[in-house]
């Protein structure tokens, strides 16, 4: 694992991955206690994807994913207690308990959600990248989705437009091999998802999604590619989820040996731990202490969610239509009374100057260019 990252950063990455895993374990427990109900998709096993990506991108780059969405916003900086409160359906959650597990939004941290229809977020990301280019911003959008989403029409329709218009968007396929219970290879003519980029003249890459440093390096490079105006990319990250598709899935479509093999030999947290110990960046006892702190932090998140009230029934009809002059709801300010919330702001329609020529005019057929040809007399 050669890397230019500092020891502090490596340790912080480790800590974040460990936090995401513990958070999900606590969510799984809470589900067993019926504090969380409905659909709940855990991220356990895939932590390197979220953490490596976060460290590679800028805080105000846009990000969004599907419904396996608890970990990404925490890695972006969301408050774990408020995420847990949302899973519990409480007013202290990011969406006031309206969205639950599948719809986590933290706009303050440029986290644009959790979407419950497979592949439904793929066109949204192109639109966000379109807006960045329209305003001339140096911003990249990262859109995560699972392997099964690659077989949706939205994937193909969007890639065609994003590539044609050179939109600054990184499409990250978190390939955990199974779309619910169906092995991606069973239903895909081309199961190596990144190869599909060729059809849209996009750059396609593949990386070991269980190696957080490889994820980081690749995302960094692809973000540069996008910022340089070279168009969208498709990055396939090969990863693995240890739990079922959702809480109701007993995962009978794969063998215990397969899961054990992944956990023992490829686990992203263990791999970084080995590196930290070998390079003496951390000690066993130091990491133990770190895990204890994380356990406490996650216990506190559960306690926060437990203590958070149910949404007020008077607000039943709320958040459907924006009335004129109505402000947006800022979750940390609303729930924690935070005074330091920085909300995204954009130029008004009077300030904005659009200079992007999306489709430069070529001379109509039959018209000869007035430029002299090379070698012409």
């Amino acid at each position: 694992m050669p890397t230019k990252l500092t020891d502090e950063t490596l340790l912080a990455m480790y800590k974040m991955m460990a936090l995401l895993r513990r958070f999900e374990e606590k969510a799984g427990q809470a589900y067993g206690q019926k504090k969380i109900q409905g659909f709940c998709h855990l991220y356990i096993g895939q932590e390197a994807v979220a953490v490596g990506s976060q460290y590679a991108l800028e805080p105000d780059d846009y990000m969004l994913t599907g419904y396996r969405d608890h970990a990404h916003p925490i890695a972006r900086g969301a408050d774990p207690g408020m995420i847990m409160a949302e899973l519990f359906g409480r007013y202290g959650g990011y969406s006031k308990g309206r969205g639950g597990s599948m719809h986590l939004f933290d706009v303050e941290h440029h986290w644009y959600g959790g979407y419950g229809i497979v592949g439904g977020q793929i066109p949204l990301a192109a639109g966000m990248a379109f807006a960045s280019k329209y305003r001339g911003e140096d911003r990249v959008t990262a859109c995560f989705f699972g392997d099964a989403a690659a077989n949706q029409g939205s994937f193909h329709e969007t890639f065609n437009m994003a590539a044609k218009w050179k939109l600054p968007v990184i499409y990250v396929c978190e390939n955990n091999r199974y779309g619910m219970g169906t092995d991606i290879a069973r239903v895909s003519a081309e199961a190596e998802i990144y190869k599909r980029a060729v059809a849209y003249k996009m750059r396609g890459e593949k990386v070991d999604g269980q190696d957080v440093l490889a994820v980081y390096e690749m995302m960094k490079e692809l973000a540069d590619h996008c910022r340089a105006g070279k168009g969208p990319v498709l990055l396939e990250m090969n990863t693995y989820r240890y739990r079922g598709h959702s809480m109701s899935d007993a995962a009978t479509y794969r063998t215990k040996e397969e899961v054990e093999e992944e956990r023992a030999n490829k686990d992203p947290i263990l791999r970084l731990k080995d590196h930290l110990l070998k390079k003496k960046i951390a000690s066993e006892s130091g990491l133990e202490k770190l895990h204890e702190d994380i356990n406490k932090q996650c216990d506190a998140a559960v306690a926060f969610a437990d203590a958070s009230p149910e949404p007020p029934i008077e607000e039943l009809y709320g958040d459907h239509y924006v009335e004129p002059g109505e402000p947006d709801s800022k979750p940390r300010e609303r729930v924690l009374g935070a005074k330091d919330v920085k909300w995204p702001s954009y130029p008004s329609g009077q300030e904005l100057k659009v200079t992007w020529d999306l489709e430069p005019r070529t001379p109509p057929p039959g018209k000869v260019s007035s430029l002299p040809r090379k070698g012409a007399a």
Partner: protein
């Protein structure tokens, strides 16, 4: 006041709002170089450039969703559907994303987007191209649904739709684009959610919207006047939010209601209006609320069958006579 075609009025609204707000852009099939399949976007590419008037590939779901994403982060997209029949391919993005973003995010995000294009029968186009689909959209919380019937309302309502901070479904009449009527000069904005009493009357209320107004209801009201029946005609203009007060006020006066709609009878917009009126004005009614709708069949190509499938003056006149117990 200048006389303008419905398409010219829409074009003015787009041009004025794009001039006023650089965050507004138009995207759709054939909107730019072709100047619009129905010429609504005539001249806009030359005026506003290729980033603000964008020819999209034939990917309705894709560019509808792209619009929603752009709206989430501060732009104000106008997404043209060449017809609402094709928007069925984009339903997931309209219904599952646009309509639910404010809600799912607990008020963190807004989605100021307009989806617009022609709906209703186009004339000899058979079943896939002749559908009045507004009932589908009024069903979903989070959407506003507008269906203007005149050039003046087309202009004024489109301007309101573009300025609105919510997703708006804007259904134009495919056979209305050539309709020429007066449009007020200068800044002309029509508020969303306000019906228009097009013809005051005392004997019966006829509620309608979009093309049915000029194609069927106005001629019906004239025919009824010949029979000595004074019909009050209400053009809803906005289907969601619905101007319930205007309907109830009129029914309180006339005690009789006929709803005329191009769409199918089952779960049509008129079915909900009948429900509201029987609940809120039961004691005012002297006859059952009666609906004249498109027949519950797919549209035929043959001219005579096509005519017979849609509401006609004869059917409206008969329905009014029925609620007046005259036959």
């Amino acid at each position: 006041m200048a006389e303008l075609q419905y398409r010219e009025a829409l074009n003015q609204a787009l041009a004025e709002e794009m001039e006023r707000d650089a965050n507004v852009f138009l995207m759709g099939e054939e909107v730019a170089r072709y100047n619009g399949a129905y010429k609504v976007s005539q001249g806009l590419l030359d005026r506003f450039g290729s980033a603000r008037v964008v020819d999209a590939p034939i990917s309705e779901l894709g560019f509808a969703g792209l619009g929603v994403g752009a709206a989430m982060v501060g732009l104000r997209p106008v997404i043209e559907m060449m017809t609402w029949n094709f928007a069925i391919l984009a339903m997931d993005q309209i219904v599952n994303n646009a309509a639910k973003l404010r809600h799912m995010s607990g008020g963190q995000l807004r989605c100021p987007i307009v989806f617009r294009g022609p709906g209703g029968a186009g004339g000899r186009l058979s079943s896939q191209h002749s559908q009045a689909l507004e009932a589908n959209y009024v069903h979903f919380p989070g959407l506003k649904v507008l269906a203007p019937s005149t050039p003046a309302d087309a202009k004024g309502l489109l301007k309101s739709a573009i300025r609105d901070d919510n997703p708006v479904i804007f259904i134009e009449g495919e056979l209305l684009y050539g309709l020429k009527r007066e449009v007020p000069e200068g800044e002309h904005v029509v508020p969303i959610g306000k019906a228009n009493v097009v013809r005051p009357g005392k004997d019966v209320t006829i509620v309608t919207w979009s093309r049915m107004l000029t194609a069927v209801v106005e001629p019906s009201a004239e025919a009824l006047a010949q029979q000595g029946i004074d019909a009050e005609v209400i053009d809803l203009r906005s289907l969601k939010p619905l101007d319930e007060d205007a309907i109830l006020e009129s029914v309180t006066k006339t005690n009789r209601l006929v709803v005329v709609e191009e769409g199918w009878p089952w779960c049509g917009v008129g079915a909900s209006i009948a429900d509201i009126v029987q609940k809120k004005a039961f004691d005012e009614l002297d006859a059952p609320v009666t609906r004249v709708t498109g027949l519950d069949i797919n549209m035929n190509y043959a001219a005579n069958l096509e005519r017979a499938t849609q509401p006609t003056v004869e059917r409206v006149v008969a329905a009014v006579n029925e609620v007046l117990y005259r036959s």
